[in-house]
Subunit: 239 residues, 2 copies
DNA sequence: TCCAAAATATGATATTGATCATTTTTCATA
DNA sequence: TATGAAAAATGATCAATATCATATTTTGGA
């Protein structure tokens, strides 16, 4: 069985707390959350929740990275989003009062906090400003998802890959010298499942981009050498 | 110029009011809305709002049908959803406090009610149950959009067309004998812009389905002859 | 450190669906 | 009801990408 270990991390010490959805929650509410939550270390490959199951709480990523995806009827995985420390998972299903419509699996190990549904709903209930903030977030994500739909429906695989690399660089780029290194452990297959194509196609296109000196490949990690060039490939203008 | 005519339709008389988002709004709030809204007849081709503009209110469709779509950088249209009497448009942008991320154009003429932003937000503010309902709706739509994304990313055009025809039949099917007639005036181009393909491809596939006796074509309108067969084409099982 | 399995890479081929060109039909309206 | 424009239909061709097959490399455990 899994070797999950229960650990305790106060919400007030959570990385990225300042920019998270909880950022301007009153101290009192934060303490309530800290009190009731559980934090567990997950290893790569372990799953936080499965599509089709009933959500019993809210996940908050303390460290590590997670992919959120759906499995189609043919068994193919489609990654809907990637989550990093400070991100929350599972609120869509809690707010819509539905089962999970996607699964979430750890791609880089770390600690995940779990806030029981009742505590989360309590705070939503008694804190209208927080509820508005959550609703605003969900509405914003709907907008993002609509844009993604258009991109997948209308852009070529090459364009989508270039656009995804730029997005990854912006989200997972490192500090200073290494700022062009995309710091997330995505396999070629994961990348293919983000943009909706075959693994071989991603591999071919990456080596193509490498030949064009747009990127360099350092093992699994990708370095962006020519962001402008990638932007050109992505046909980013006018979006 | 357009020949928009201001007409008055009390919300209490709105078709589909019973099942709309406003269904269990207190009488008092409904009257406030009725008081402040304007209702205008729109002809086919007229646009309710444009992507990139600031939302100033909420649209409610009294009669007629509307398509909601985005235009990609290459100028191609992608239809995100179709709206029918009783449906609301524009609340995503109001709740996320963003500009419209899509445009809405009338495909079958009818009357559209317009509720000023301030009135809508007032009611949201003072009526937590209604706000929860709106949030729930947006979260549900996010789930639908995620499913659409997976479908477009992973299913063939043939499967998507078959699935779309089934959805259209379920949403716009008529009563009784004519229950298999899809009662919405969509051009082949519109259909192509829903499923994300070329118009010619839709035309070819439709005549294919016709040859297979899955559908029949009566002018612009499509009749579903063999729903089971279409479901098979759509590979619907297990979704 | 070595081994097996997984991931990556590369090649050959097949298929889907886009694009371009042309014809036919439908439809609005003059 | 005639006519011009838009929509639908059909054909020919081509490009992008999936699929299948087979190395080669990397990696995580025993």
């Amino acid at each position: 069985m899994s070797t999950k270990k229960n650990i305790r991390i106060p919400c007030t010490l959570c990385p990225g707390k300042e920019h998270s959805l909880f950022s301007d929650l009153p101290r009192e509410d934060l303490d309530t959350l800290s009190m009731h939550k559980t934090c567990i270390r997950y290893k790569k490959g372990q799953t936080l929740f499965y599509e089709g199951t009933r959500p019993m709480g809210l996940f908050c990523i303390n460290s590590g990275k997670v992919k959120v995806y759906k499995i189609s009827s043919e068994g193919k995985e489609q990654i809907l989003k990637l989550a990093k420390p400070g991100d929350f998972l599972g609120y869509r299903a809690l707010i819509s009062e539905e089962f999970y419509n996607s699964s979430a699996t750890v791609i880089e190990e770390g600690a995940m906090c779990y806030i029981p549904k009742s505590n989360f709903l309590d705070i939503l209930q008694k804190n209208p400003a927080f509820f508005r903030k959550m609703a605003k977030r969900v509405a914003h994500e709907l907008g993002l998802m609509e844009q993604k739909l258009v991109t997948i429906a209308q852009k070529s695989v090459r364009e989508r890959l270039a656009a995804t690399l730029i997005m990854l660089k912006e989200t997972y780029g490192m500090e200073g010298d290494e700022s062009n290194l995309i710091d997330i452990a995505l396999s070629r297959e994961d990348l293919a499942n983000i943009i909706g194509t075959a693994t071989e196609t991603v591999i071919r296109l990456l080596s193509d981009f490498k030949t064009q000196k747009l990127i360099s490949l350092q093992g699994k990690k990708i370095k962006v050498l020519d962001a402008k060039g990638l932007v050109r490939e992505a046909d980013f203008y006018g979006r």
